[in-house]
Symmetry: C2
DNA sequence: ATGAAAGCGCTAACAC
DNA sequence: GTGTTAGCGCTTTCAT
């Protein structure tokens, strides 16, 4: 390539990386010839010489949960803009496997994005010292992180409901031991108190349609006019279970979901959901990682706020009586 | 590292790659010292020297469709066993974007796995000449590929149904223009003919719960005793729509799904589905790629057969009258 | 503004 | 069985 263009290879190299250091005519000629011969600088050789691979490790616990697909997609896209490639690893919800993966990956990529990490804090701290690390959906001390503020989103649902006259709401909680429930319930209670409403908590139940159908019994008997489900499966079940019991949605009871799996937009009625802007989260994570890679400080966690998507399943409360 | 162990670096290198060429004591010593100092051979340097990066490109159209999550996970796991890493790219269902991605990736990885490719045949052929390429869920001439034989799976559903005395079945077809429908319908008709049954085709309809609910009207009026839905969303809708119209599942009508999104196992009744063994597909793809990388010929496409999972939603047909 | 040369960390061919 | 050496294709000083 350099020979063909009649210049030294260092000049070719410069033409690509520091275009300003090369005289315009030379630069153009090099570019043109490179195009003609389909020349692309080898990332590997560059990596060896610069110490940076252009690779970003992305670790997610699973791809079965619809939460992570969009996150991975967004991260990949954002990384691509920075001319980086994503090395994806899936921990299969095992903390031990995740630890191994992160350990290994940390020696082979420029930086790491780890979503909903199950690892121990101490380990993550250690890793962050060795390599730029961004946590998504997990907070560990001052480590760089992108947080999705579902509790405040759930609170927004409560506001919406209370604003429509509902005074007695039910939250159907998720699987026993889910770390997600407590903050949501706390946020919910706070809003309810402000708005003069009551919160009834049903569950915990497994996040399945079936469990949702069964818990409908409890919900129907609880004397509430609105219910918020832990996730889409729960809500799908609720819809079905309430219908079976002759409870009309939304006329008798309003229903909302704390997540937004796509099916919920095509049920009857379409369900009011919390949309989690995972695209934003992915972009934010990449931006933050890029900052770390430039040697800048992580700064405060980026908090992504869910957006309330109001659909047919939530309605003004019927006037009492 | 070499210095610490008192040997030449080539010996260290050999101790890792061709252990047999190094005397056992030397090898052990090297390994021990390497462990102690946490030494890991640089993949980048190795890549530059050998011309192989250890990277495998994986291209999928989207992660929103639950089909691809498990496929990606399986592929990643299988690749890991071979000490390879997956560079994931998502085409967002755009043929143009996919083409760009494949083009780019092909210069930076050892091999490529492309799922449900939207690219043109000629392009894929060209790429396959430049770099080991395995297609998943798409067949192009003699190119290496892993196929998922849904038509024969759908036929298995028909057999199951016909075996239980059903003589009039309905297939609810997917989105207009779906390439998946025609082969399924053909397989269905063939089986029906053999078994002395009739096939009614409803649709095409969009693959949404809502459309499934609406098409239930048609299905209910079609005088069939069993219905096979294009996918999970369709079936979820059917379940709901049939119920609303007083049609009991499975007593009046049996219902089955041509895919197996997890929700369907926790509906009421649990739905008979076609399980697509995507784990196998991922493994097969990696194995096949590995073969190509060794310079062997691709061989015939690997065909993965779906497995029929019989649940509560399919029942013996009621005796006529 | 450009060239020459060193070196990134490894592998592989060739000596010994 | 092990050491020596020559690259792999770039980036980056240091000259010019």
């Amino acid at each position: 390539m350099a020979r063909v263009a009649g210049v030294a290879k260092s000049t070719v190299s410069r033409a690509f990386i520091h275009p300003t250091l090369v005289a315009a005519p030379t630069r153009e000629r090099i570019r043109r010839i490179a195009d003609e011969m389909g020349f692309r600088p080898s990332r590997v050789a560059r990596a060896l010489s610069t110490g940076r691979t252009g690779l970003v490790g992305l670790v997610v616990p699973t791809l079965s949960n619809p939460f992570f697909g969009p996150l991975v997609a967004a991260t990949q896209q954002a990384a691509e803009e920075e001319d980086r490639q994503i090395v994806l690893m899936i921990s299969e919800l095992s903390a031990e496997r995740e630890t191994r993966i992160v350990e290994r990956l940390s020696r082979e990529v420029d930086g790491l994005i780890v979503a909903t990490s199950l690892c121990e804090e101490a380990f993550l701290r250690k890793v962050a010292k060795e390599i730029p690390l961004v946590l998504v959906d997990r907070k560990v001390g001052r480590l760089a992180s992108v947080l999705i503020d579902t509790p405040s989103g759930v609170a927004a649902i409560a506001d919406h409901l209370i604003g429509m006259g509902h005074r007695r709401l039910c939250y159907v909680s998720g699987p026993p031991g889910s770390w997600a429930d407590a903050p949501r319930i706390a946020a919910l209670r706070a809003r309810a108190e402000e708005g003069g409403a009551d919160i009834v908590v049903a569950g915990p139940i497994p996040p399945t349609v079936d469990a949702g159908i069964e818990v409908a019994e409890t919900v129907a008997a609880a004397g509430v006019t609105a219910v918020i489900g832990y996730n889409s499966a729960t809500v799908l079940g609720l819809l079905h279970g309430l219908g079976t019991r002759g409870v009309r949605v939304p006329e008798d009871v309003s229903v909302a979901s704390a997540d937004d799996f796509i099916l919920l937009q095509s049920t009857k009625p379409a369900v009011t959901v919390l949309h989690l802007p995972l695209e934003e989260a992915g972009q934010a994570a990449v931006r933050m990682l890029e900052r770390l890679l430039r040697g800048e400080r992580p700064g405060r966690p980026v908090v992504i706020g869910p957006r309330l998507v109001i659909r047919e399943s939530t309605l003004r409360a019927r006037p009492p009586g």
